[in-house]
Amino acid sequence: MSRQTPDLLPAADLAGEPRRRLSRIWPGWGSAKRVPLLIIGSVLGALVVLAGLLAPWITPYPQDAGAVVHPAQTLLAPSAAHWFGTDMVGRDIFTRVIFGARVSLGIVVLVLVVSAVVGLTVGLAAGFFGGWLDSVLMRVTDVFLAFPALLLSVALAAVLSPSALHAAMAIAFTWWPWYARLARGQAASIRRQGYSDAARVLGASRTRQLVRHVLPNAATPVFVQMSLDAAGIILTAATLSYLGLGAQDPTPEWGLMVAQGQPLATTAWWVITFPGFAILLTAVAFNFVGDGLQTVFDPKRGLR
């Protein structure tokens, strides 16, 4: 790391040169280790994902995630039989919270995939080709950006009836412009980078330039942003459900569970506490990971 002529050094010595920039390749776990939050976030996030995947096997009453009621067991306080207590129709809250991971993660994945694909496509096209295409695409993006997701969900709920899927669609509809903007900025700056010109000089076709050079380099910040956004999407989806525009009972969606338990906040605290905590935990996990990734990729900046 120190005392070196820049030119004639053996390979091993150079490899450790501390030279990090945004959009460089993954700098390795060595740097990750210096970001405790990344580790914590990854572990938490992995737990949430695992919980979602293994839900049917690790929950005591898997059927409680669906349309069942147990009138005799309503609003039982947390106990050995019901770790998180039961809700107003006697369903096991622990079971529903664990299954809720599936719903939330499903929404997150859907929104991220859709908005990343759309956003990257639009953003890269705008940034790479520039000119009037850029202006048109970016103004359209601005319009969508100015449009509140909530209201769109209302429209979708009115047209197609409220559900988790439609909420996810509404979120994606207003989420992609962020990626479009980000990707456009990246593509435009990459286009100005020497290696873009270099590719042209070497005779690379536009497609090759986009796929081999622009996309991979523009994608990193988008991916980092996506991990930060996962938290925001979970919160937005929960908010929509809370307003009755998202998932509908008996879907074990965390925001919906909080909404249902709200009248009981003072009397049966466990009904809102655990799903609310699940939202918080998952959002924190994603934010930790996102922040950690950003720190690793761009140590100067840390958080956005």
């Binding site: 405790p36 939050l37 103004r139 359209v140 601005d142 319009v143 969508f144 950006l145 100015a146 449009f147 509140p148 997701a149 909530l150 209201l151 769109l152 209302v154 429209a155 009115a158 047209v159 938290a231 919160l235 937005t236 929960a238 908010t239 809370y242 307003l243 009755g244 525009l245 925001g255 909080v258 909404a259 709200q262 906040a265 003072t266 605290w269 809102i272 609310g276 939202i279 918080l280 959002a283 924190v284 934010n287 930790f288 922040d291 100067k300 900046r301 840390g302 958080l303 956005r304």
Partner: protein, 337 residues
């Protein structure tokens, strides 16, 4: 600069037009006959025809769009199906409440978030920095409806320190009646010098403001920290240190100013977020603002009201973005170039 302003204003107009087109399209997508919704289900065919004519629903779509635009230009957003009042006057009534709530929350976000980010940046890499970061992340990760309920339970039910909901204690109306100026009790009380009501209104503000401000505080702190760190490593900071400036000036004057840009652009984002959150916070704390109005409109499928809210929110957003861009151009001359 003036050319820059002009081009930004023109762009903003374009975006607003786009939003209007979009709302129009969505309004047409929502099923149901607005005439029936307005005239009521027992209306006769003639009455319906009259309503259709009155609202121009019998005209071709493009003409309806022209009418719609003309209406908007004249501040006419139609009649709410729920309140039966013009949406515009409804909005004028509810908007100040929300703006005051969100405005105060954002001011808090700046007053707490920026110093928090500054402190974290100063102590980069220490435990204090980590703590500040974790706190910020917790704040941005908190589901607002959950936070609002928790706040009520802790500060009202358990501790009894703060009122649970409402804008002020209406029992005061008999002893010190409140005169409406803009329709927001805190402001009205302040403007009319009604101190008992002002004190009550101020305490009623605390919990909703905390609930709304949580996300902005966290976000501003994170961005401030990041932007400062980005600048702190820069040569110009080394330069002012070499010139003998105190650490306070180095941070407060030289590092913060270029760092203000990302913070300012964040404000627009955070504003949009806070506005959405205010929808929920208002309903939990029973504040008669845009949020409550929107929630009611959603529940009653009051399409004109929903569209009005959409348009206002979008307009506010575009306006704020415009202001942000202009402020940025003032803060950082490179933006203008």
């Amino acid at each position: 600069m003036s050319r820059y302003v002009a081009s930004r204003v023109a762009q903003a107009f374009g975006v607003v037009l786009g939003v209007i087109v979009l709302t129009f399209v969505i309004a047409r997508l929502i099923p149901g006959d607005p005439a029936v919704a307005y005239a009521g289900p027992r209306a006769s065919a003639e009455e319906l025809a009259a309503v259709r004519e009155q609202f121009g629903l019998d005209q071709p779509l493009w003409q309806q769009f022209v009418t719609y635009i003309t209406g908007i230009v004249h501040g006419d957003l139609g009649i709410s199906l729920h309140t039966k009042q013009p949406v515009t006057s409804d909005l004028i009534q509810v908007l100040p409440t929300t703006l005051v709530l969100v405005g105060i929350a954002l001011v808090f976000a700046a007053l707490i978030g920026i110093p928090l980010g500054l402190a974290a940046a100063r102590s980069q890499g220490t435990l204090g920095d980590l703590a500040a970061k974790v706190i910020s992340i917790l704040m941005v990760s908190m589901p607002v409806f959950w936070l609002a309920i928790l706040l009520q339970i802790v500060f009202f039910s358990r501790l009894g320190w703060l009122p649970v909901a409402g804008q002020y204690d209406t029992a005061l109306d008999s002893t010190s009646p409140l005169y409406s100026v803009i329709g927001v009790p805190v402001v009205d009380a302040l403007l009319t010098g009604n101190w008992p009501v002002f004190a009550s209104a101020a305490t009623h503000l605390v919990l909703p403001v905390i609930a709304i401000a949580a996300y902005p505080i966290g976000a501003v702190a994170m961005v401030t920290r990041g932007a400062l760190l980005e600048n702190l490593g820069d040569e110009h900071i080394r330069m002012v240190r070499a010139l003998g400036f105190s650490e306070l000036s180095v941070f407060g004057r030289f590092a913060l100013r270029p760092a203000l840009n990302p913070i300012v652009s964040l404000i627009a984002l955070v504003f949009a977020y806070a506005l959405t959150n205010s929808f929920i916070v208002e309903s939990v704390f029973n504040w008669p603002g845009l949020g409550s109005y929107a929630v009611k409109a959603i529940q009653t499928l009051d399409i004109p009201a929903i569209l009005g809210v959409t348009l206002v929110v979008a307009l506010l957003y575009v306006l704020l973005n415009l202001i942000v861009d202009l402020v940025q151009a003032i803060i950082d001359p490179r933006v203008r170039a």
